[in-house]
C-alpha cells in the first residue's frame, strides 16, 4: 500500500517536472550570460495559450508547440531589447513582461475561445519494451514525449554550455563581460541569443501545460511556475543537473500535495497548495551562500569601457 503510494507519487512527479525543467534550463542560459528574466511566467502563459489555440484550430500538436516557441522568441526579443539595449533594471522589466503575458493571454483566451474547451494534444505513451518493466517501467517509461525531451535537454544543455565554443562565450560573458569584450566577443549579441533561447524554452514549457498535461487552457494556468523555475536556477547553482534535481524535488512535493487531496487525507485543500511556494522560500533562504558562486555579472548591464 505504501509502496503503491510512493510509486504513484514518483510517477506523477516526473511529468510534472517537465515544464519546470524546460523553463529552468532556459533561464539558466539567461542567467549564465548575466541576465535575469523574471518575465518567464508571462512567456509561459502566452506559450500555453498560443499552443493551445493552434492545436484547437489546426489540430496538430507539433504546430502548436512550434507556435508557442515562436511566441516565446518574440517576447524574448522584447525582453532582450529592454534589458540589453536599453539597459533597464532587469527585475522590474521582468514584472512588466509578466503582466503583459498574463493580461494578453487572458484577454485573447476570452476573445478567441471563451469557455472551457479541451483538445486532444499529446498523450503519454508506453516506451517500447522499457515501459513494461515492473515498477521502473511504470515510473519512468510511460510518459509523453515532451517529458523525455525535457530530461534529454539536461545532458544536452550541459554539453552546449561546457563543451562548445558558444557555451564558453556564454560563461565568460556572465562572469567577466569586460574580459570577453577585449577578446572580441560580442557581449550584447550573446546576451540577446541567450534571452531568446531561454524564452523559446519558456514558451515550450507553457505549451506543455496545455498540450501535454491538462489539455485545456485556463486563466493563470501556470500558477507561478515561471517564478519557481527562476528560483530553481539559484537552487541548482546554475548547473543543468542541479536544476534537474531541484525540479524533481519540487514536483514530488507537488505530487504529494495533490495526492493528499485525492486520498482524502484530512488536510485543508488550500494549505496543501501552499507547499510548493513555501518550499521555494525555504530553498531561497538556504541558497544564499551559493549566490557567491553565481555568475558575477548577473543583473548588471554591460557598458564598454565603464570604469567601475
Amino acid at each position: 500500500m505504501i509502496l503503491d503510494f510512493i510509486i504513484g507519487i514518483i510517477s506523477a512527479g516526473i511529468p510534472l517536472a517537465a515544464p519546470l525543467l524546460l523553463a529552468g534550463l532556459g533561464e539558466m542560459f539567461n542567467q549564465r550570460a548575466g541576465v535575469f528574466n523574471l518575465g518567464v511566467e508571462g512567456i509561459m502563459l502566452m506559450g500555453a495559450f498560443v499552443g493551445f489555440l493552434v492545436v484547437l484550430i489546426v489540430g496538430s500538436p507539433i504546430l502548436g508547440l512550434l507556435a508557442a516557441i515562436a511566441v516565446g522568441a518574440l517576447m524574448g526579443l522584447l525582453m532582450a531589447v529592454v534589458s540589453v539595449k536599453f539597459k533597464a533594471q532587469q527585475g522590474i522589466s521582468g514584472i512588466g513582461l509578466f503582466m503583459l503575458g498574463w493580461g494578453l493571454s487572458g484577454t485573447l483566451f476570452r476573445v478567441y475561445i471563451g469557455g472551457v474547451t479541451s483538445i486532444t494534444g499529446i498523450k503519454p505513451f508506453s516506451f517500447p519494451l522499457l515501459g513494461k518493466i515492473p515498477v521502473i517501467g511504470e515510473i519512468f517509461f510511460q510518459n509523453n514525449i515532451l517529458v523525455y525531451i525535457a530530461f534529454l535537454l539536461v545532458p544536452i544543455s550541459w554539453y552546449v554550455l561546457n563543451k562548445t565554443a558558444w557555451g564558453l562565450k556564454v560563461r565568460a560573458v556572465g562572469t567577466n563581460p569586460q574580459a570577453a569584450d577585449t577578446l572580441g566577443i560580442k557581449v550584447e549579441r550573446i546576451r540577446f541569443q541567450c534571452i531568446i533561447l531561454g524564452s523559446m524554452m519558456a514558451g515550450l514549457a507553457g505549451a506543455y501545460l496545455t498540450i501535454a498535461q491538462t489539455h485545456i487552457f485556463a486563466d493563470n494556468i501556470t500558477a507561478g511556475r515561471g517564478f519557481i523555475a527562476v528560483a530553481l536556477v539559484y537552487f541548482g547553482r546554475w548547473k543543468p543537473v542541479g536544476i534537474m534535481w531541484g525540479t524533481l524535488l519540487f514536483s514530488l512535493a507537488h505530487a504529494l500535495q495533490r495526492s493528499i487531496q485525492v486520498y482524502g487525507i484530512n488536510f485543508p485543500y488550500e494549505i496543501a497548495i501552499i507547499i510548493p511556494y513555501l518550499l521555494v522560500i525555504v530553498v531561497l533562504a538556504l541558497s544564499y551562500k551559493s549566490q557567491l558562486l553565481g555568475p558575477v555579472a548577473l543583473g548588471k548591464p554591460f557598458i564598454r569601457g565603464s570604469r567601475e
Binding site: 529592454v82 533597464a88 521582468g94 512588466g96 513582461l97 493580461g103 484577454t107 485573447l108 507561478g224 539559484y234
Partner: protein, 368 residues
C-alpha cells in the same frame, strides 16, 4: 541657470511622453489582435469614464487603493528594495481588518475604523516584513520571495474566508460563496457622494500620501531610508544600519498595501470576499513608477490609472474587449518607463539628444 532647469524639464517630459505613447502604440496592436478597433477602444477607455457621475466617482474609488499600494511601493523602491508582494499584502491586510471588524461589531466607528486600519496595516506589514528580513539578512531576492508570498497569501486568504471566517448565512443557505459576513455599519466608510460607491477612503488615501511625503522628506528616519536606498556605501559611513532599514522599508510598504485591503473591505464591499485585491498589487507598481516614486506624483498617477481601469471595464461592455487587456497595457507601460531610464542616467546620451533638439548649446558647460 533657469534656462537649464527649463530645458531639463522639457527633456524629461518629452521622454516620458514618447515612452507612454510607445506603450499605447503596441497596445493598439494588441487590441487589433483582440479583434477590436484600437481607436474606438482607446476613445471609450479614456473618455467615457469622464462623462458622467458614475465614471468620475468610480475613478476615485479605484484611485484610493492604487494610491495606498503605490505609496508603499514608492517607500520600498526608494529604500532599495523592490516590493512585488502587494497582492498578498492587501489580502492579509484585508483579512486582519475584517477579523477585527467582525469581532468587535459594536464599537463606535471612531474607535472601530482606526482599529481596523491598524490591524490591516499590521497584517500587511508582517507579510512584507518577512520578505524584507530575508533580503536583509539572507540576501534572498525580494522579487521572488514576495511573489511566492503572494501565492501563499491567496491560499491562506481563501482558506480563511471559505472556512473559519465564512459568512454563517452562506453556510445556512448552502450557497458556499467564499466571503465573510457583512460587516456591521460601524465598520463602513462613509459614502461621500450619495448614490455612488465613492467613500471616505479616497480622503484617507490623499491624507496618507501627504503624510508619506512628510515622512520621507521631512524626517530624519525618512532621510536615512532614502540614503540607504540611494547610496548604501555613504549611508553606512554616516551610520545608517542599512539592513535594518531594509526591513523597515518592507514593513511600511506591506503595511500600506494592507491598508489598501482595509479600504476595499470597509469602503467598497463591506466584507472580505474573493477578488478583493483585483490586481491592485500589480497596478500599484505602475502607479508608483508613473508617479516618479513620489507621493505628490502618485496622487495624480492613481487617478490616471483609475481612469484606465474603469475605462477598460467600460470598454469591455461597449467594444467587447475583455478588460484584462489593461493588465497587458500596464505591463507595456512598465517596460516603456524602465526603458526610458537610460535617457536620464546616461549623461553622454542625454547631452547628445538635447543638443540635437537644440535645447542646449553645444559645449554649454558653465561650471566645468
Amino acid at each position: 541657470m533657469k534656462k537649464k532647469l527649463y530645458s531639463e524639464a522639457i527633456y524629461r517630459l518629452l521622454i516620458i511622453v514618447i515612452a507612454v505613447f510607445s506603450a499605447l502604440f503596441v497596445g493598439a496592436i494588441l487590441l487589433l489582435i483582440a479583434k477590436a478597433n484600437p481607436l474606438t477602444a482607446y476613445y471609450v477607455m479614456f473618455t467615457e469614464p469622464l462623462s458622467g457621475k458614475f465614471g468620475l466617482t468610480e475613478i476615485l474609488v479605484r484611485a484610493a487603493p492604487l494610491m495606498l499600494v503605490g505609496l508603499g511601493i514608492a517607500i520600498s523602491f526608494r529604500s532599495g528594495i523592490l516590493n512585488i508582494g502587494g497582492e498578498g499584502q492587501i489580502l492579509i491586510g484585508a483579512v486582519f481588518g475584517a477579523f477585527i471588524a467582525l469581532t468587535f461589531p459594536d464599537l463606535p466607528p471612531y474607535i472601530l475604523l482606526p482599529l481596523v486600519f491598524i490591524a490591516s496595516f499590521i497584517g500587511g506589514a508582517i507579510w512584507g516584513g518577512i520578505a524584507g528580513w530575508m533580503k536583509a539578512y539572507l540576501s534572498v531576492n525580494e522579487i521572488l520571495s514576495t511573489i511566492m508570498l503572494n501565492y501563499i497569501a491567496f491560499q491562506v486568504y481563501m482558506f480563511l474566508i471559505r472556512g473559519p471566517m465564512i459568512d454563517p448565512k452562506e453556510v445556512a443557505y448552502g450557497t458556499g460563496v467564499p466571503q465573510t459576513a457583512l460587516l456591521s455599519k460601524n465598520a463602513w466608510l462613509v459614502r461621500i457622494i450619495p448614490a455612488s460607491r465613492l467613500h471616505a477612503g479616497i480622503i484617507i488615501a490623499v491624507v496618507l500620501a501627504i503624510l508619506v511625503y512628510i515622512f520621507l522628506w521631512k524626517t530624519t528616519i525618512g532621510y536615512k531610508l532614502r540614503a540607504a536606498g540611494a547610496e548604501a556605501k555613504a549611508a553606512k559611513y554616516i551610520g545608517v544600519n542599512v539592513k535594518n532599514y531594509l526591513v523597515l522599508a518592507m514593513l511600511l510598504s506591506g503595511g500600506f498595501a494592507g491598508m489598501a485591503g482595509a479600504i476595499e473591505v470597509c469602503g467598497v464591499h463591506h466584507r472580505a470576499l474573493e477578488s478583493i485585491s483585483a490586481g491592485y498589487g500589480f497596478s500599484g507598481i505602475v502607479v508608483a513608477l508613473f508617479g516618479g516614486l513620489h507621493p505628490l506624483g502618485i496622487i495624480p498617477a492613481s487617478a490616471v490609472f483609475g481612469l484606465l481601469i474603469v475605462g477598460a471595464d467600460m470598454m469591455q461592455r461597449s467594444v467587447t474587449v475583455p478588460a484584462s487587456i489593461i493588465l497587458a497595457i500596464q505591463g507595456l507601460i512598465i517596460l516603456a518607463i524602465v526603458s526610458s531610464q537610460i535617457f536620464f542616467s546616461n549623461i553622454g546620451l542625454k547631452e547628445k539628444i538635447m543638443i540635437k533638439l537644440k535645447l542646449m548649446k553645444s559645449g554649454d558647460k558653465d561650471d566645468t
